[in-house]
């Protein structure tokens, strides 16, 4: 048992660091919020990694994965966070990809995996519905078989970045007579199909990153069904467990703490830099300690996965602690900027009163918006309350 890198691991880190330094577009490192980026900017790094063969490290090698050890994947995350890269979005890489290569047909693999790897195809997730948040079993969207098509009707919500999506994966009820968790199917939909309508939802921070998606008599070929009909719940649970492992966000939070320290070094409180105020420094230290614990917990989980245990209910801990830390970090950052948290500065797409140019120091510009935005993290991907239910049931046996 040890935490040191082997010489091989050090060499890998150097290789990764050099690759990033040479290939990552410089301008991408400077965005404060995703809201300010174009679609092209958001997929730029993904495409570069696709060419390099590094866009889907966690996938099995046969489908384009890198075969990296947990330590290598840890190094990869660390180095990307260090360079503030904009990593491939999870909807294809971490969500539908694993479902397709695990449960999909050979045709589906051949058709969809290359676009996910390369970053050419943008995916979105159609799980939640207005009446069913974390309670996915209560789905109302229906897919009715009509010859070799499904006719899909319903409304999805919180479809993140669906405004850019080429394809979506949707949970639809195919057997309305079955028990709530049965009779659900996992269906891939081309977002350009007639009847698919995407309407952005304005969020608290002024951004438009989620959408309502209406499906009205959408005709989808039956070959877009993944796995077996009515078994969608199984795939959805598989996917949620996969989604949770990435959600800890340790490397990004580390970088966030560095930025917070830099802000606190510039802000003056009672005549001295805020960072020299013991009380504020104490709160940063507490956050660092919590994050150090999370980091080791994640590494232990990854090591367990390598030893053959799949991502299990332990990943719920990563989700809970990871999001708590992200939220606390943004809260402290807002606290650090003092009065300049108040000016309203959303992203470029903001309407309705956002200030066109930043007020106050650059580092304050997005502090409030980021704090507001990050409240979502304890709600989405299975709310933290649901994660506790999962742990209580699956780990504690209650």
């Amino acid at each position: 048992m040890n935490l040191d890198f082997t010489p091989e691991e050090q060499a890998f880190r150097d290789e990764v660091r050099a690759f990033i330094a040479e290939n990552h577009p410089k301008e991408l490192a400077d965005f404060g919020m995703r809201e300010d980026m174009t679609r092209e900017q958001m997929v730029a790094w993904h495409k570069i990694l696709g060419k390099k063969g590094w866009s889907v490290p966690a996938w099995p090698v046969e489908y384009g994965g890198t075969g990296w050890t947990p330590t290598q994947r840890y190094i990869w995350s660390e180095e990307n966070a260090r360079a503030n890269t904009f990593m491939p979005l999870p909807f294809g890489v971490s969500m539908v990809g694993p479902v397709i290569y695990t449960f999909g047909s050979e045709e589906q693999k051949a058709r969809h995996l290359p676009g996910i790897r390369s970053g050419e195809v943008w995916w979105c997730q159609g799980y939640s519905e207005p009446g069913a948040g974390s309670d996915l079993a209560n789905l109302k969207t229906t897919a009715v078989r009509d010859g070799d098509h499904y006719i899909i009707n319903g409304q999805k919500t919180w479809t993140t970045l669906a405004q850019h999506a080429d394809w979506g994966f949707f949970l639809c009820r195919t057997d309305p007579t079955a028990k709530p968790q049965e009779g659900i199917s996992f269906i891939l939909i081309d977002m350009k199909t007639p009847g698919v309508e995407v309407k952005p939802i304005k969020l608290l921070d002024g951004s438009y990153e989620v959408n309502e998606t209406w499906l009205t008599d959408v005709r989808v070929p039956v070959e877009n069904l993944v796995g077996e009909e009515n078994k969608g719940w199984t795939y959805a649970k598989f996917l949620l467990a996969h989604e949770r492992t990435g959600i800890a966000g340790v490397a990004r939070s580390k970088r966030g703490i560095e930025k917070l320290r830099a802000i606190a070094a510039k802000e003056i409180a009672n005549g001295e830099p805020l960072i020299t105020d013991f009380d504020f420094a104490r709160k940063i230290s507490q956050l660092e300690i919590d994050l150090a614990a999370l980091e080791i917990t994640e590494l232990r989980t990854l090591a367990g996965e390598q030893a053959g245990k799949g991502p299990g209910p332990e990943s719920s801990i990563l989700k809970i602690k990871g999001t708590e830390i992200q939220q606390r970090l943004t809260e402290l950052t807002l606290e650090a900027v003092g009065h300049y948290g108040a000016p309203y500065m959303g992203g470029v797409s903001n309407d309705n009163g956002a200030n066109a140019h930043p007020v106050g120091p650059d580092y304050a510009t997005h502090a409030a918006a980021t704090y507001f935005n990050m409240r979502k993290t304890s709600i989405y991907g299975g709310s933290n309350e649901i994660q506790r239910n999962i742990i209580a049931k699956m780990i504690l046996g209650l």
Partner: protein, 376 residues
């Protein structure tokens, strides 16, 4: 000891409550804060008519002889409706400076105008580098003949876009952060040399960066004694804090009630989420936090007239405790609302945003916990 409101206070509450209910509904508010003006002068006129703007002034000064408890009653109702009109800057802050230290001429000139609704003020105290230290001023007022010349930059001046007059703090002497040498001035916003950059705040109000470039004012612009303004600023900002705490209590009450109601309506797994014990206990903890905030707001309000140490300790206790309650209630209200809580459409998120910004006004939780410790 007495915890009862007077009949007049009950009447003020009822009247304001009706005004907010009838004329400050959510859609109307949304449109108003998104309009170019960002507020509704007609609401301001009605507040004047109802006597709200004159409440805390003595009858001798042209007001209605109310006190801190009246301001508390008023602010709680404003909090319930997330009213953006600038009662605190105008009536509590400017009004406070004028009534505590204004000359007869200053009172004559300004208080009547405040009471009648014709004058709106903003209080320019914060600076880019001063954070919560009222004495950490880079803005200077240099003696020039009988008057002063003001130079500096004031940050996040709430309500300034709507204001005709400003109260400005500036250093007339002493070194940075000295208690001595701080002075308070009143001047028209259109005084030559004053420029502003106006903007929207995340909690739906308006504010400005205010720049002073060789702004010449007369000796009559000085409020109180030259160089001895800090104690006065501390008094007035303590009064403002008590008022803001009452506003926060109103906002918390509504945010909590909305969340209780939502948890009754919203179903998950076939039952209302309010039937889950975890949600119930969290709603209870929010309720307890609200009651705690109300009690501390009473304490601060009722101690505004006490000796300096007792007043400051009570006010800091309130800013700490109300700030902690506001954070808990705001965050939990959003969490229990789930995805809907983070949308712009649902009102609850806006209560959360207002409660968030409340913390940074006149010193946050940490700042006031420090002041409380220092006065132990």
């Amino acid at each position: 000891m007495d915890f009862n409101f007077t009949e007049e206070q009950d009447m003020v509450r009822d009247g304001l409550s009706r005004l907010v209910r009838e004329q400050y509904d959510w859609e109307t508010r949304r449109k108003a804060i998104a309009s170019p003006a960002g507020w509704r002068p007609e609401i301001w006129a009605q507040l004047a008519e109802l006597g709200i703007l004159g409440m805390p002034f003595s009858e001798a000064d042209g007001g209605f002889g109310g006190g801190a408890v009246d301001a508390m009653v008023i602010m709680e109702e404003f909090g319930k409706g997330l009213v953006v009109e600038p009662f605190v800057p105008t009536v509590v802050c400017a009004g406070g400076f004028l009534k505590h230290a204004g000359t007869a001429a200053q009172k004559e000139e300004h208080i009547g105008a405040i009471v009648s609704g014709s004058a709106v003020f903003a209080f320019a105290y914060a600076e880019p580098k001063g954070r919560f230290d009222y004495a950490d001023l880079e803005t200077t007022a240099k003696k020039d003949g009988a008057g002063y010349v003001i130079n500096g930059h004031k940050a996040v001046v709430i309500g300034a876009p709507w204001a005709g007059h400003l109260i400005v703090t500036a250093r007339t002497g002493g070194a940075r952060r000295d208690r001595g040498g701080v002075s308070v001035f009143v001047l028209a916003k259109d005084t030559p040399g004053v420029t502003t950059r106006d903007y929207v705040t995340v909690d739906g109000r308006r504010a400005s960066e205010v720049y002073f470039e060789n702004v010449a004012v007369g000796a009559d612009a000085l409020i109180g004694a030259e160089g001895e303004g800090l104690a006065l600023i501390e008094l007035v900002t303590d009064e403002a804090i008590a008022a803001l705490c009452a506003e926060a209590c109103g906002a918390m009450k509504v945010a909590h009630a909305m969340t209780v109601e939502y948890s009754r309506q919203r179903k998950q797994f076939g039952v209302p989420i309010g039937s889950f014990q975890v949600i119930q206990h969290r709603l209870v903890d929010m309720y307890t936090a609200y009651e705690t905030a109300v009690s501390l707001t009473y304490l601060a309000t009722l101690r505004l007239g006490a000796d300096e140490r007792e007043r400051k300790r009570a006010v800091s206790a309130a800013k700490v405790g109300v700030g902690q309650s506001a954070r808990l209630i705001g965050q939990e209200a959003v969490q229990i609302h789930g995805g809907n809580g983070v949308t712009d459409e649902y009102a609850v998120g806006h209560y959360f945003k207002r409660l968030t910004i409340f913390d940074s006004e006149f010193g946050n939780v940490d700042h006031h916990l420090k002041r409380h410790v220092a006065l132990a």
